[in-house]
């Protein structure tokens, strides 16, 4: 077992490091590493592949795939286009309001649907607004940066917003309503603190011209670009009804009935797709995010192999044996989660740290550990542009949009342009995670 304790974690760490260094090949790297982990586990006598596969949280994958399909249905219905136009109207094309309104809009959208789908459809509208306003490099960096962080916070606000929260919902760690009640206020507080700091102290609009003609033209152009886009009710209604039923079932259905969150999700999506069967068939064939699914499946397999060596329990024991109080141990765990996520992204760190969280939750209030972990992972996802899938995607879309400043110089949005927003966001969200964890330890949310 001792050689397995070195080899299997090494495969996991190596895969995570290499995929972080070469993100363009991350799925291939992680999938290959998972097969190597299975081979090593079988030959070293740790566990056979069927035993490792049996421990994969399939319910999480089912929920991810199903919610991705519902998001695609909303996209096909034109919902995000209309929301983007509404956000433009609400912002009155004023640069300061644009930053705030789009951040809040993305926070809300990401809480309910797949944030990648939402980003792909909403970001181009923000790009149009940015292109029309002759922005500064600083303004573009902060506006897109804060919007990405709002996406992460929205994803952490609800149990169906993003992968880490879904993972907590699975396996009965937390109930739908239990998570929502605790995480939504905490993430909303983090967003409001971040927006207040950005708008009052960073002032990214200080060097952006704000004139009435520009705002009027911008509004007219955006309205013209979306003049005929209406929500397709035939697609929207089945998707909305199904999502509503799913939310009601997650909230109201007693756990004793044995109808698990993933089954509710599967049934709900099946209903939505069946009600629009032609579109449903097309989405079922082509609309599944195979990249995210394969990536997470591979991670689960690797983590499953490492788990069999008992190393996660050992890490948990190490944290628990730190010569500090229980509060100090929790802070150390949350800080570790934030930094690991910043470096390795949410998927790998959450998959690995959940076992440690499970062990810690035996000695500390589970809500302090689990919700604190979700917030800390959200903080880490917001640290670097590369820490969440939405970051590189936003970078690619922004590069393609060819935004230019008032002098006609191209404006980049990359790792370093995001960094100031990332550092501030990490500090704010990690701070909220730690404060939340400590308050929970003291029974503040009983």
């Amino acid at each position: 077992m001792s050689s397995a304790r070195v080899i299997l974690p090494s495969i996991l760490v190596l895969a995570i490091v290499i995929q972080a260094l070469v993100p363009s090949r991350r799925v291939l790297i992680v999938a290959t590493a998972a097969s190597v982990a299975c081979l090593a586990s079988a030959t070293l006598g740790v566990a056979t592949p069927p035993r490792i596969f049996a421990d994969v949280p399939w319910d999480v994958l089912v929920i991810l795939v199903a919610l991705g399909l519902i998001s695609r249905m909303f996209a096909e219905a034109g919902l995000f286009d209309r929301l983007a136009v509404s956000a433009t109207r609400a912002s009155r094309a004023d640069p300061l309001r644009v930053l705030g309104v789009f951040a809040v809009a993305m926070y809300i959208i990401s809480g309910v649907v797949n944030n990648i789908t939402a980003l792909v459809l909403v970001l181009p509208v923000l790009h149009v607004l940015l292109k029309l306003s002759a922005p500064s490099k600083r303004y573009v960096g902060w506006t897109i940066g804060v919007m990405l962080v709002a996406c992460n916070l929205g994803g952490a606000a609800t149990p169906i917003g993003d992968f880490p929260a879904i993972l907590l919902l699975s396996g009965g760690r937390m109930t739908f309503l239990g998570y929502l009640r605790l995480a939504a206020p905490a993430t909303l507080a983090a967003l409001l603190i971040l927006l207040a700091l950005v708008l009052l102290f960073v002032r990214p609009t200080a060097d952006v011209a704000r004139d009435k003609v520009s705002a009027r033209l911008t509004r007219a152009i955006v309205e013209a670009m979306f003049r005929g886009v209406v929500i397709d009710r035939r697609t929207f209604v089945p998707a909305a009804i199904s999502l509503g039923l799913m939310l009601a079932a997650w909230t109201l259905m007693p756990a004793s009935w044995g109808i698990t969150p993933d089954l509710i999700c599967w049934l709900g999506v099946g209903l939505a797709l069946s009600l629009r069967h032609a579109l449903g068939e097309r989405l079922a064939r082509d609309g599944i995010d195979s990249e995210a699914t394969l990536f997470l499946l591979s991670l689960f397999v690797m983590v499953g192999a490492v788990r069999k060596t008992g190393i996660f329990e050992e890490i948990a024991r190490s944290i628990q044996s730190l010569p500090v109080s229980q509060a100090g141990q929790l802070v150390a765990f949350l800080a570790l989660a934030g930094v690991l996520t910043g470096v390795f992204s949410a998927g790998p760190s959450m998959a690995a740290l959940l076992d440690v969280a499970d062990a810690l939750s035996h000695r500390m209030p589970p809500r302090a550990v689990y919700v604190g972990l979700a917030l800390a992972v959200c903080a880490g996802s917001s640290f670097f542009l590369t820490a969440a899938t939405s970051g590189p995607l936003a970078q690619a879309l922004t590069e393609r949009a060819d935004i230019r400043d008032g002098e006609g110089r191209p404006i980049r949005f990359g790792f370093f342009e995001f960094l100031p927003a990332g550092i501030l966001s990490f500090c704010v969200i990690e701070g909220v995670a730690i404060v939340y964890g400590l308050l929970s330890l003291r029974g503040a949310f009983e």
Binding site: K131, K212, V213, L217, A220, F226, R227, V229, D232
Partner: protein
């Protein structure tokens, strides 16, 4: 009231998605409403040299002749009983009117690049599924006895018309005989006085019918 620094790039962005003439109509109306003749004159002098179609629309508005209301009736007559209408290039406001006037026809749209790239998905989303995206390679699939091809014309000079560059890629000698009608819809009724950047000259000869606004 002065013209914002981003006006020229804003026009380019709108022209890519709405078409040159539709964007010019939008800008002329908005700027005239916001700052009257002085603002529109400033816009014509700053944006016009790069975008001659805006120059025409702004000049006519300043002369007290704002763009006429779009009436697709003569285009519908020219298309006759065509069941398939393939539109080459985008002029959003004109296409909106045409789509509404042809409730039974199947309509395809070939979008060219010509230096301006609009977001295809967004352009098409405005037509509620009535207009299909047709790649250049699929143009001949739309050919037939009951098929018509239509493009927007930005004025004529002698035996030539100013058209979107994509028209030259489509209307070759091999394609022309495959469609029953080739209609040119003149959206300006006046040739650009400045060098017609963004549009190209094409012979009028292939067109079966030319229609004004």
């Amino acid at each position: 009231m002065t013209l914002p620094a981003s006006a020229s790039s804003a026009f380019r962005l709108s022209a890519a998605e709405l078409g040159m003439c539709s964007a010019a109509r939008l800008f002329a109306a908005e700027l005239h409403a916001a700052g009257g003749a002085p603002l529109l004159e400033e816009a014509r002098d700053r944006i016009g040299p790069d975008y001659p179609i805006f120059d025409i629309v702004a000049s006519e508005t300043l002369e007290g002749r704002p763009p006429a209301r779009i009436n697709p009736a003569s285009v519908v007559t020219a298309l006759g009983s065509a069941k398939l209408v393939l539109v080459i290039g985008i002029e959003a406001y004109f296409l909106d009117a045409l789509v509404a006037a042809l409730p039974a026809a199947r309509i395809g749209l070939v979008l060219g690049e010509g230096g301006l790239e609009g977001e295809r998905r967004r352009i098409l989303a405005n037509f509620g599924g009535r207009v299909e995206d047709v790649p250049l390679s699929d143009v001949l699939r739309w050919a037939g006895r009951r098929s018509a091809m239509l493009t927007f014309i930005y004025g004529t000079v002698s035996t030539n018309a100013y058209v979107a560059p994509v028209w030259l890629r489509v209307a070759g000698p091999d394609v022309r005989p495959q469609f029953r009608t080739l209609v040119g819809w003149d959206v300006l009724n006046r040739a650009p006085a400045l060098y017609p950047r963004w549009v190209v000259e094409a012979p009028l000869e292939p067109f079966s019918c030319l229609v004004g606004i």
